[in-house]
Subunit: 446 residues, 2 copies
């Protein structure tokens, strides 16, 4: 008697022409398709045919001069996912919305609306956004401090969950005979008063199939992990090695008990960016082809940002100037990313050009090059070793890299019994084996 193997979950991270920085220069990709909904629909349908749990769209609220060398300017997630809902039937649709620069009442109704439109397939990646460059698009001079952003995120989550839970399941009556459209005693105002938000409610969109979207987070700081442990149902994370991924997994799941949550109520999906070939050497050729297309101009901007120093002043073939970098305490942006880069440089004595190449593949996420079997081996190992409940799949370029994955790796995982061959559920929560929200209205008295 064989013990049934634990199935893994797969999310497709849809990003322009792919996750390799140079993917838009690849002969096969169509960079002007960033605003073409039919392009994205084809990717979504491909992922759905392979029975993936979901797809995910990242978002930022700023455009920087980096667009000179870096693909951007694409669609906004909520409008895009609403359109994708019409071209697909089962796959989950996860979009990013910022808790720092959005009104929670507006976000709540848009996600409720997306959940209706998609028949219960909505997911929300809540982020606190990045940098003063974003703040200045929203009437502020400075991006709020990290801790303030997370305080605000916490309130935001309380507000939107409260709004979504305000409609009891049988509130919408629509009784033509008596002329009662809704039972207002079953639609509860929220009357939330916080430091950041005061929202009275109730929400003006009826209860949606999932009550609320699957709650996704991707924070890596202590505050981020704590908020995820308390509230998230899905976590995306960038882990560059199996060991780091295991440590992250144990850390995050370990924080859940104190919030009365079971480890299974949150699924962790590390990013995973495989370059796949029928043979190893074919895969290596694909890797080399992409590497040749890397633009050092953009790499310099990107690394100067992450390392908070102007690398243009140093020779490209010279060493990364560790001695001139700020100390970790001085870093204003993403500390985890800064540390990862410094560790990499120290361990491998990299030149600036080498560091650009090493990090052009998938922004610090795990990358590998190999055959479908080799890729499946690694995925199997990560899940068995307690490093992942599944993966955030980040094809290096579209559609080729996705075709390689769904045509080669997915069937291999299915043969091994590690991935579904059919959808059994309808909603995104059902795909991930998450329980339906136990939505209790916040009952306040006037």
């Amino acid at each position: 008697m064989s013990v049934p193997v634990k199935k893994m979950h797969l999310n497709l991270f849809v990003l322009n022409t792919g996750h390799h920085e140079a993917s838009w220069r690849h002969p096969e990709t169509m960079p002007k398709s960033v605003t073409d909904i039919h392009y994205y629909t084809r990717l979504a349908q491909m992922a759905e045919q392979a029975k993936l749990d979901s797809l995910f769209i990242a978002d930022a609220l700023v455009l920087t001069p980096a667009i000179q060398h870096k693909i951007g300017g694409g669609l906004e997630p909520l409008t895009m996912l609403s359109a994708l809902a019409m071209g697909t039937e089962r796959i989950g649709l996860i979009g990013t919305v910022s808790t720092t620069y959005t009104e929670p009442y507006n976000a709540a109704r848009m996600f409720a609306s997306l959940d209706h439109i998609s028949g219960g397939r909505a997911g929300w990646n809540s982020v606190t956004s990045v940098g003063d460059v974003t703040a200045i698009n929203f009437g502020r001079e400075r991006h709020p401090e990290h801790s303030d952003r997370y305080e605000q995120a916490k309130e935001f989550l309380e507000v939107v969950k409260g709004l979504w839970s305000g409609w009891e399941a049988d509130a919408l009556v629509a009784d033509k005979q008596s002329g009662t459209f809704a039972d207002y005693s079953k639609i509860h105002p929220l009357r939330y008063k916080g430091n950041y938000f005061s929202v009275h409610g109730p929400l003006n969109v009826a209860r949606s199939p999932q009550v609320f979207p699957v709650l996704v987070q991707a924070g890596s700081s202590d505050a981020g992990k704590e908020l995820a442990a308390e509230t998230a149902e899905l976590v995306f994370t960038a882990q560059d090695t199996l060991e780091h991924a295991k440590a992250f997994y144990a850390d995050l799941k370990g924080r859940m008990a104190k919030y009365g949550r079971h480890a299974d109520e949150l699924k962790i999906l590390p990013g995973f960016s495989p370059i796949i070939g029928a043979t190893e050497s074919e895969a290596r050729e694909k890797e080399a082809m992409l590497a040749e297309l890397i633009t050092p101009d953009f790499g310099l901007i990107r690394l100067s940002n992450s390392l908070e120093i102007d690398l243009h002043r140093y020779p490209l073939e010279g060493p990364v100037p560790l001695e001139d970098l700020p100390s970790i305490e001085q870093v204003k942006g993403q500390k985890a990313r800064f540390e990862m880069l410094v560790d990499m440089v120290k361990a491998e004595q990299l030149t600036i050009r080498q560091l650009i190449h090493r990090t052009a593949t998938a922004r610090g996420h795990y990358t590998m090059v190999g055959t479908p079997e080799q890729v499946a081996d690694v995925m199997e190992q990560w899940v068995k070793d307690g490093a992942a409940d599944g993966f955030n799949v980040m094809p290096p370029y579209f559609p080729g890299g996705l075709e390689d994955f769904v045509g080669g790796v997915v069937p291999e995982l299915q043969r091994r019994g590690l991935f579904r061959t059919e959808y059994s559920g309808r909603t995104l929560r059902e795909h991930f084996g998450l329980k339906h929200p136990d939505a209790q209205p916040v009952v306040t008295t006037t």
Copy 2:
């Protein structure tokens, strides 16, 4: 030689089960479909088959206890229209977004995104929203004063137009060879600093087919008409008689010259809600059937709101208590609506119940009962007499009232040469004969 007749424009105002207040109780309507995207898709497709210029979705940012007797709780406009874009090919898609309770950067990118998704079919009805009941969902205690809201609306329009115009037509290069994705000298930041909004830009969505959505307004106050004369391309308005409609039309078009605009650059569409039957008596029967379904409970709430007095304290069969009403100066809400109701009561000596019935049909918009020919006669007359450039069609109930309109009235208008028999354009601006925006980036120096 016959002079070619001026063609009219037709917009379908999509609203739940229809514009008659009791439509949701009509045996044919499906009130639980308010959250069903497939229901709306069918209506949109019906309108598109009849070659209508556009459809329009209204919006409010609040839910009140009136939902007990009044249909509500439906989808949010931008997500809904993005989904409808996928089920249609030519019809314009106009959505309402508030300038009082939305971040302009977010609104700008969502509309740009919708314009991409729909291939240039987006329109935006900008409104300033209503009442303290809305304010309390957005961290405020009071809805801003009318004049402040319009000041803010004006700034909001400047910001979003500036953001949309910031991308020159050939900014997105995507030159794989040189590694240049965009020509940043052709993507202009806005650097807007106003009293309500400070937005740096540039927008992070590439220039869309129409550059920006068709700008729609529906204000009826002096400030509203002034803003429309300066900026709007389409105006919806509620006019209860031909005379009122002519006066409004002449007034609004007359205000445009001082902004250097030609009268043709703005189209005026009064609301029009016909109850249509193959014979006049069949139409009367349909009217009577709907009238019977009116719920006085909701009528009382609605009129108490508009007249700013609690009508529950007066007998339903007694006269409307004109002597107890506030004076027009004291009215806090929509003054135009208040005046229209008072005029109606004075002219016809109505009881409360009669006023409820008279106003249940389409909230003060022009309503009529008749055959397709009679309906077409009125429409023809309004356009010829300079009262309208077309109509905001408000079927009393869906889908029946729309079927009657597209099956009976549209063919009759087409026979008379008053309405297109085929789309000639692709974008919403083309349908309405509006010129493509002459988008000049706001060039500021640092």
